[in-house]
């Protein structure tokens, strides 16, 4: 395998940027954003260089490794701080640094009024570094460092405006729910070490085929738990909506394009485990299917533009997870959808940010309307992203999403039919709520507040949007042309036998388009034909109410985990105070008590002392009597 000395720069540059910006403090306020952007861009440059190097090599020689130093070595537990750049990670590296750099640029303008812009860029750089470590680590433990690193960055960025208590709570919630997922990752690593004896990708891949299915299933399920946490999948999805508390560029970068897709990366990276553990794989598919519907349903009821997009993200990642769960045929499509989604969803989020920028940070879509005329560029870029997510040919989503739907149908048997139907349904609902977003935001009559003065955003903001829009249009076509991505990734995955085709690709595309058309039509009828209330109506169906509350996910967590947890905590606090420490104090009281009882004997009366002496003498005699 090829080694390289330059991989570390991918991570080191943004990490250096973050360190400088954090340590320099206010002194760096003037140039901090520039340094941050530069670091991100240089990392992108290194990534491009690596890609060019990789392209120049043959398929087998493409993966590159770099051993930095010996990290942890105890007994047989040996983990190096080592990096691995292969065909899979390079996709992510370019996505992270590429989209990341665009969002850095966007943020220069978006955050220009913020007092703490420097700190924001420091966090962004920290995130880029951690995310790169996540995708570049050559073992699960290295990945784990990046995994929690992005969690930290996400925590910091969601809570960037943490002077608002709700935002601070949102960041905490995200961190804690992510930690639950991280626990799954630690379990997976522990099981891997206990059963296989190594935690590196290479080592596990080597031993996977002669490891028991039970162990692999356990590892797989735990990896899935990790993925659900990070990628906001069912049942650890609740944090994503609240995470929209962060500045919009953060939502675009972390909670749409990159970090939340880490779960897909993890499952794809662990293909050797899942391929050998069908039960775990089935669970992956189930989780993906549930989440894709779950997210889509939430999306239909949200009035907050960012939360609607977040729900959409959840749903789209459900597609990816589902794709990844379909095994070797699905991995490449999952990654392809991940990349195209990275473009169009980031673009839409930035568009949403642009709208908010022009609307005094208003996020309620019911107070938008008719913005098309005031923000033409935003409308166009957002619209292109909209077409992409709908899967309208020839936009990016068409290629990637249809492939997943097709693969789902072809996965065989009843499972295939169910999954196919679910994905189709998801596509229809997606069409509905995205059309709703478009209509509410850009068309119809204006429902603004009096003080709103919508205007187009400056070039630093719309340029990244435009670039991403180009990606939304073209990336699907480019990646699937001649199965480019599938072939690129093929060496990493086990080869698979051809499945029987349940439905021909053209039929699937037809069905999908039909579903999309229905979704769009329903949305039109509901929102374009009639007046939209500026205040969300209250007399709505039970279903809408539940969907507005994110399908009761928070109430569920609160009732099942939080309340009992709080009760347990306060019960334990009382126990500690009264039972355990009470026992300790009881011993002290016993000593004091017996002391005060015995003190009564010391009455001061000579005769009672004499009586005591008499008793003592009697006891002494008794003792002698017993002894001799």
């Amino acid at each position: 395998m090829t080694t390289s000395n330059s991989l570390v720069y991918l991570i080191a540059l943004p990490l250096l940027g973050a360190t400088i910006l954090l340590l320099a403090g206010r002194r760096a306020d003037k140039w901090g954003h520039l340094l941050g952007t530069l670091m991100s861009a240089s990392s992108f440059g290194v990534g491009l260089y690596q890609l060019s190097q990789m392209l120049s090599r043959s398929n087998e020689a493409r993966p590159v490794t770099q051993k930095l130093f010996e990290w942890i070595s105890v007994g047989t537990f040996n983990v190096d701080a080592g990096l691995l750049l292969d065909q899979l990670s390079i996709c992510f590296v370019l996505l992270i640094t590429g989209v990341g750099t665009l969002i850095h640029i966007y943020s220069i303008s978006y955050m220009s009024h913020d007092h703490d812009r420097r700190r924001f860029f420091a966090y962004l750089n920290l995130f880029i570094a951690a995310m790169l470590l996540l995708v570049l680590g050559n073992s699960y433990l290295n990945l784990y460092v990046g995994w929690e690193g992005v969690g930290l960055a996400s925590y910091l960025l969601i809570g960037f405006w943490n002077q608002k208590p709700a935002y601070a709570t949102a960041s905490k919630k995200a961190f804690v729910m992510n930690r639950i997922g991280d626990m799954g990752l630690s379990f997976a690593i522990m099981i891997a070490f206990a059963t296989i004896g190594t935690v590196s990708f290479e080592g596990i891949k080597e031993h996977a085929h002669h490891t028991s299915t039970g162990a692999l299933t356990a590892i797989g399920i735990m990896l899935l738990v990790a993925a659900t946490g990070k990628s906001a999948q069912f049942p650890l999805q609740a944090w994503l909506g609240d995470a929209m508390a962060g500045p919009t560029p953060v939502s675009a970068l972390i909670h749409a394009a990159t970090m939340v897709t880490a779960g897909v990366y993890l499952i794809t990276r662990s293909n050797f485990i899942f391929d050998a553990a069908p039960t775990a794989q089935l669970l992956v598919v189930i989780v993906g299917a549930i989440t894709l519907l779950f997210g889509a349903l939430i999306g239909t009821a949200k009035d907050d533009i960012k939360k609607a997009l977040a729900a959409s993200t959840m749903s789209q990642i459900g597609y990816m997870i589902l794709g990844a769960g379909l095994g070797p045929v699905g991995y490449a499509f999952a990654i392809m959808h991940l990349l195209t989604h990275g473009f169009f969803k980031a673009g839409m989020f930035l568009g949403a940010g642009s709208v908010m920028h022009g609307m005094n940070d208003e996020v309620n879509m019911r107070k938008y309307g008719a913005l098309r005329k005031f923000m033409p560029i935003t409308f166009v870029t957002f619209g292109l992203g909209y077409l992409a997510i709908l899967g309208v040919p020839p936009f990016a989503g068409f290629y990637s999403k249809d492939m997943i739907i097709e693969t789902a149908f072809n996965s065989g048997g009843t499972k295939g039919i169910i999954l196919g139907v679910v994905t189709l349904l998801g596509a229809g609902i997606t069409a509905f709520y995205m059309t709703r977003v478009m209509i509410l935001t850009f068309t119809g009559k204006s429902r603004w507040d009096a003080e709103a003065h919508p205007h187009e955003s400056p070039i630093l903001m719309w340029l990244p949007m435009a670039i991403l829009a180009v990606g939304s249009v073209s990336s699907g076509f480019l990646l699937s042309r001649g199965d480019a991505l599938v072939n690129w990734l093929a060496p990493l995955f086990e080869h698979h036998g051809e499945h029987e085709e349940l439905l021909a690709p053209i039929v699937v595309s037809g069905l999908a388009l039909a579903m999309v058309a229905i979704g769009v039509a329903v949305a039109f009828l509901k929102y374009s034909r009639q007046e939209v209330a500026a205040v969300a109506p209250e007399n709505v169906s039970v279903f809408t109410k539940i969907a507005r509350q994110d399908l009761m996910q928070d109430s569920f967590n609160e009732a099942v985990f939080m309340r009992p947890g709080q009760l347990l905590t306060s019960a334990l606090v009382k126990t500690d105070e009264h039972v355990i420490d009470g026992a300790v104090r009881g011993v002290a009281q016993l000593a004091l008590g017996s002391g005060s009882v015995l003190r009564g004997v010391q009455s001061g009366f000579v005769r009672s002392y004499a009586a005591l002496i008499l008793i003592g003498a009697a006891l002494l005699i008794a003792a002698i009597w017993v002894v001799i």
Partner: protein
């Protein structure tokens, strides 16, 4: 520098004599002398660490002087990797504590000078307790350490300081006396088997019936479990930490409590291998309870100092679990954990202490929005907290993960339950972080001053060590590994082989 442990122990005593000779009014001079002394000691220890032969599992820097020949008691010292790491931690923490707590001694019951005399005497004992290879010498120092700490809590603490000091003292004395009984038992046993001795090496060769071993083991173990502190013998710790000054708390939790876990390895495992095996299931259960219980209690605390104390109970659970998992990962992880916990708790207590002294309250709810007012202090606290919740990239992650992995290979159920502690850790750190640092700046916090240069100098090395060791723990692991492998081998254990290596 001479590589002599005796000299190392003598240095702080000399410093304390110098401080004692100073006039009472020269407070700053006393502080400076104390700081310089501790710095010299730290330097000397680092020099010793450099000269330490890493691959040699025997005791090094051995010295032995006859002390009480009638009973065969020697002043015998020597260190292996385990002791070296702990001495290093103690002596590096000492100057940090002195510098960080520059004004801690004011407002105490006695003069400033007495405070530093106590600190310096305590430092000598901290070195001695880890270096002693004579069981009697160890016992004497083990108990004598209580005296300066008692006065540090009772004389310079806050709140219910006398009550807390007495509770601490009696609790520890109780354990110490149980240990004394066991030590006498060992001495008597040694007399029956070739001459009375207190030498650790000789005592570890004793032949004992399993009943005897179990009883003697318990005497030692309970003493150490109180010190460590292990559930349910922990209740002295929150009270003591609540009342002590931050610097004292750092020494108490960071160093003194480590004597408990150190003792478990050095005395319980070495002297009573069979009894250790007998009691392992019970101890592991207690450790797991400590981890989860300490975490829950920390979540439920309203007082910052008590919260930190309870997080330590949780962490000590991890250390004990690692020790008794009997795998090289667990053992090394536990030792590394001891070192790392010293620094992460130091960071928490010192920054927490500054916050409390500025705000004049230790109730978490009294703080709010500090990040806007005092960014450096808030960041320091945040990083300390991240270290406490074992964020990867922080030193405590390496040790915690090693403990978990090491335990998992032999006791998966315990490890799985303990892992839930990491979620609870996120809660018990993030809740105070949110309440104290985030949110709007609440009344009473608007005019707090950020860390000054002295405080920055004190906290910087701690955070630097935490982060540096998170990414590069190898230097320490290389010192620890031979020692822990030696212990595991002595116990007759080998690491479990991968179980499902073959289909």
């Amino acid at each position: 520098m001479l590589n002599s442990l005796t000299l190392l122990m003598a240095l702080p005593i000399i410093g304390s004599i110098v401080v004692a000779l100073l006039p009472k009014t020269k407070e700053t001079l006393a502080k400076q002398v104390a700081l310089i002394t501790t710095l010299i000691v730290a330097g000397a220890t680092i020099a010793m660490a450099v000269n330490f032969q890493r691959d040699n599992v025997d005791l090094q820097f051995v010295e032995k002087y006859s002390w009480i020949p009638t009973f065969g008691i020697n002043f015998a010292v020597g260190i292996d990797g385990l002791a070296l790491v702990l001495i290093l931690m103690s002596t590096v923490l000492a100057p940090i504590v002195v510098l960080a707590g520059w004004n801690e001694a004011h407002g105490g019951r006695w003069s400033v000078k007495v405070f530093y005399i106590l600190i310096l005497v305590l430092e000598t004992m901290m070195i001695g307790v880890f270096a002693a290879t004579d069981v009697f010498l160890f016992y004497v120092i083990f108990e004598a350490m209580l005296i300066p700490v008692y006065f540090l809590i009772g004389g310079y603490g806050t709140g219910q300081r006398s009550a807390a000091a007495v509770k601490f003292l009696i609790y520890s004395l109780f354990g110490g006396l149980l240990m004394l009984a066991s030590i006498i038992g060992l001495y008597v046993m040694s007399g029956a088997q070739g001459g009375h001795t207190f030498d650790l090496q000789a005592l570890s060769q004793l032949e004992m019936s399993s009943t005897t071993q179990n009883f003697l083991f318990l005497g030692f173990f309970i003493a150490f479990a109180i010190k460590a502190p292990l559930w349910p013998l922990h209740t002295w710790l929150p009270d003591a930490a609540d009342s002590a000054t931050p610097g004292t708390s750092v020494l108490l939790l960071g160093v003194l409590d480590k004597v408990g876990t150190f003792g478990m390895i050095r005395y319980c495992l070495t002297l009573f291998p069979d009894a250790s095996k007998t009691f392992t299931p019970m101890i592991l259960v207690l450790s797991v309870i400590s981890i989860v219980y300490g975490a829950f209690l920390a979540i439920g605390q309203r007082d910052l100092k008590r919260l930190i104390a309870f997080t330590s109970i949780s962490h000590f659970g991890f250390i004990t679990m690692g020790i008794f998992a009997m795998t090289s990962q667990g053992q090394s992880g536990a030792t590394l954990y001891m070192f790392n916990h010293g620094f992460s708790t130091a960071a928490l207590f010192l920054v927490g202490g500054w916050m409390i002294s500025r705000r004049g309250s230790s109730t978490i709810a009294d703080f709010g929005g500090l990040q806007r007012v005092t960014p450096v202090m808030a960041w320091s606290f945040f990083l300390a907290g991240m270290s406490s919740l074992a964020l990867p990239g922080m030193s405590s992650f390496v040790s915690e993960f090693l403990v978990l992995v090491g335990t998992f290979t032999r006791y998966p159920v315990h490890a799985v339950i303990a892992t839930f502690g990491i979620v609870l850790a996120a809660l018990y750190i993030l809740i105070p972080v949110q309440k104290a640092l985030h949110g709007p700046t609440t009344a009473g916090n608007e005019n707090l001053s950020d860390l000054n240069l002295r405080e920055k100098i004190a906290i910087a090395p701690v955070i630097a060590i935490i982060i540096a060791l998170g990414f590069y723990p190898s230097p320490l692991l290389k010192v620890i590994n031979p020692a822990s492998a030696h212990v595991i081998a002595q116990m007759g254990f080998t690491d479990p082989a991968p179980t499902n290596g073959d289909k």
